[in-house]
Symmetry: D2
Subunit: 289 residues, 4 copies
């Protein structure tokens, strides 16, 4: 098959290389600030890359608020409208975190964009890489071993589940907190200690590390003040985040906010995750095996 | 608080004992064929048990098709209508697998029945006990160790997830199969080998045990014929089950269909699961802590 | 190669079948009370079985105190001297738990007996089957799930290490006790809670199950009295065992003494363990691959 | 109690702080290039630090070949003879990797030195930190996730056992190799794939990471050549190491030799390990609880 990869960060660069390694024909545009990728053809026009492609992969996220394509690995500046103009309705067009404006623009031009960030399999695979990156960060940011560390993971969604599993696997004593009884049942099912996210007060002083995974302000001044000296506080929640960093600074709590871990700690895997998801999308459309 | 436990199997008997152990006042009816339970008062009339109770717990399942209360631990025969007549609208009434007819009957009498089988936390906790019971069964039905056994678990829902976790924990080599890409991503996230439930053909010969958890005919003649001599085939799916037992018998495949494992292998835990769920229901209604 | 399997319990019967399945020529004697084994020739004279064999496998344990071959699967009664008379010095002769008298008798007849029970790989593999059997026993003897059970394993040798691993794998909260600081370090290395076997007093009341693996009287009246109502006490230690069963009976503590679990819960694996060890012995002697 | 900590790297500095945190009186000498440690008194003479101490802790390793105390955190230069002259026979004197010359010198001065590196509990605890550091290194040196990585660990001693456990805990597919049948039995007992360290040829091409833990040249040109492109090769063996780094460089294999991981990735834990061992030594001598 023929692919065009246009814009994006290291993950899309890796994606291009991985697609080529699978013997596909791959052309790229607007990711020129990367080392040459074996089997990948760099082009200098969006139209040249897109021409004849069965499938076009666009960045994650697709665009800025101003409708500009996200291209950290390029010196150029391109509106999504410009890029869309180079595509055609017969192509399978995939992009990540597609905003309403971009989707509307595309629609007016007769193009349908499939948002790969909405795919459950991508979310799960990203959660794996995020949990793993969190383990690495905790190792790097502390001067003790994970073994026998007392860890609290707030939230038992995808990332919470996998992070607990990994921390336990490294020898830590794991407590997870959740809001629903169903999640509490899952926490118990895996043999962790369970707490109610709404009632953490008075029980936070025993932990060596606290990791937040829920996108709500769960760690404000009062709770941060309870943490013991030297406790690491790691926030994996997307904006606006769950930790009051101003309060943390005031209290001398070491707090780290980490977003986009997959691309950072495992760019090849992050690229492979997008590749697998694109393959799944194509398979569902009967466009590939 | 005051509880009435009316009818049901060993799980409801255990429930009565556990409620009494929590210092509640507990009266029972129609579970008289059990050893006396410490702190529990047996009554000989439904009305006597229900009188003054804040909460009434009925069997799982509630009734037969004919509208008769399920009472394996009683010599008596009671219609649900009879039992409902002894209850009052102010009571919190919990029952399991409530059929439409019973619900309608109750409604006409001004009673609302809360079905505890529909609670997610109960389903998860039951899955734990089911997975554990499956491990016990495999141990009992084979003359080799779980350690290094090659196991295939079909389906990666609640029971599948937990069964894989336990089998891995016992040293088995675990493969799980699923239909969706999201489930495949979860299987990989936990480090198991993954297969597509729709494409098991040709790959079934290497397993020492195959456990089905999906309620669909996934193991018919063709697939059963592939199993190696001595492979154990365990079906945990509810009716109509996933294994063609006639074909299995014809092929000499050792196939076991197991339902209701929690109550069988861990009746106290099964009772505790209902207790916790009832407490949660009461808590949501502001009737208890 | 040619093998003779003479006497012994189900494990040796299974061994004979497994050797035949590996395409060896196998003759047996004094295990006639078993179902016919595919590819195995039953003989009615020790000499007939041993004649021409490269390797002769004898029971585990080899003999009674009176020098009689252990043959639970035979109606006959044979002295070890009788059996030895049928063997020749050129054969590799393997037996288990060889007593001094038997070894001396054999020596006088020019025979060297290799004791397979002294092989470390057999001890480890047996520990796996024992730990697994213990998990099965705990499941069968309790009416709650292993998940969230509070378990204490006394001793962190082979069986202790593996039992902790399996219990943790099933979702239990695991504490192990040991006497040496090195073992305590290992307990911590795997993330379990650690206790000093010499100082269990005052801390035994919280466990749901206590398993002893050390061959010393570690659970006497005083400690048993501390156990909570319903706590299961399992003794895996060889004679004289570690539990005061008289005291347990007096106190109403449910205590189970279990020996020979591998042969009981997984006879085929138990036979395979002996087979592998015999192969290793032969390999070291240059007699096989 | 009163402690003197003299010389050594970050681990001994951390040790001093930890002893003070346990309410002991602690004086240090020759570790002045570190941030002030709460509750610790820095002295400018060995005699001042040692004066009145119940226990003196010296570096790991104690001295250079030339008999000079190892003091990376000090600007001074001191012979062990000088330091010994400040100590007295009534003190418990602990040091690590004590060479024969130093031991003899001490003996002539009437001093007995206890080598804490020879303590099994310290070796186990260090293996935990080493295994964990190896996991961190693999994460940092690769651009894929550990999850589903195919890892080979050569050697199943302390570090090998724990590294396999952690890698499995992170979702990797783990193979371990060993030389003895007993170790192979342990590898199988934990559910890993096993290989013979002497017969790795022809099977190395499938691994994404290979970690050596045995102090012998197990990875020479021939084996390194088999590794697949991008495979990381990590050597944890002490001198002379197990990897032919010259061959690795020639072949373009990414090879990393890592020694002293505990002090590097978890200095506080490394200090705590020495503290615990010193406490154990004192306890055995009846000098402390």
């Amino acid at each position: 098959m023929k692919f065009a990869v246009i814009g994006g960060d290291m993950r899309l660069a890796m994606l291009a290389g991985l697609l080529a390694a699978d013997s596909h024909e791959v052309k790229t545009f607007a990711i020129e600030k990367t080392a040459p990728l074996r089997g990948v053809t760099q082009t200098s026009l969006a139209g040249e890359a897109a021409q004849g492609a069965d499938c076009v992969v666009l960045p994650l996220p697709l665009a800025t608020r101003e409708g500009v394509l996200v291209t950290p690995l390029s010196g150029g500046l391109y509106t999504t409208r410009e890029i869309f103009a180079a595509l055609s309705p017969g192509q399978v067009i995939c992009a990540g975190k597609v905003d309403d404006a971009s989707r509307e623009t595309a629609g007016l031009m007769g193009l349908e964009i499939i948002d790969y960030i909405e795919r459950e399999e991508l979310a799960v695979a990203n959660a794996v890489a995020t949990a793993e990156g969190a383990v690495q960060l905790i190792m790097e940011e502390t001067d003790v071993t994970l073994c026998r560390m007392r860890a609290l993971v707030i939230g038992f969604g995808r990332i919470g589940k996998l992070l607990c599993h990994r921390l336990r696997g490294m020898g830590a004593y794991v407590t997870a907190s959740a809001r629903s009884w169903a999640d509490t049942a899952w926490i118990h099912a895996y043999g962790y200690e369970a707490m109610d996210t709404g009632r953490l007060e008075g029980a936070l002083g025993k932990f060596d590390v606290v990791v937040n995974t829920v996108p709500a302000r769960v760690l404000g001044y009062g709770r941060l003040r309870e943490l013991k000296r030297g406790c690491l506080c790691l926030d994996l929640a997307s904006r606006p985040g769950g930790v009051d960093f101003t309060a943390a600074a005031r209290l001398g709590v070491k707090a780290v906010w980490s977003l986009g871990l997959p691309g950072e700690v495992a760019p090849v895997t992050a690229g492979a995750i997008i590749r697998d998801t694109v393959y799944n999308i194509l398979s569902e459309r009967g466009a590939a095996d």
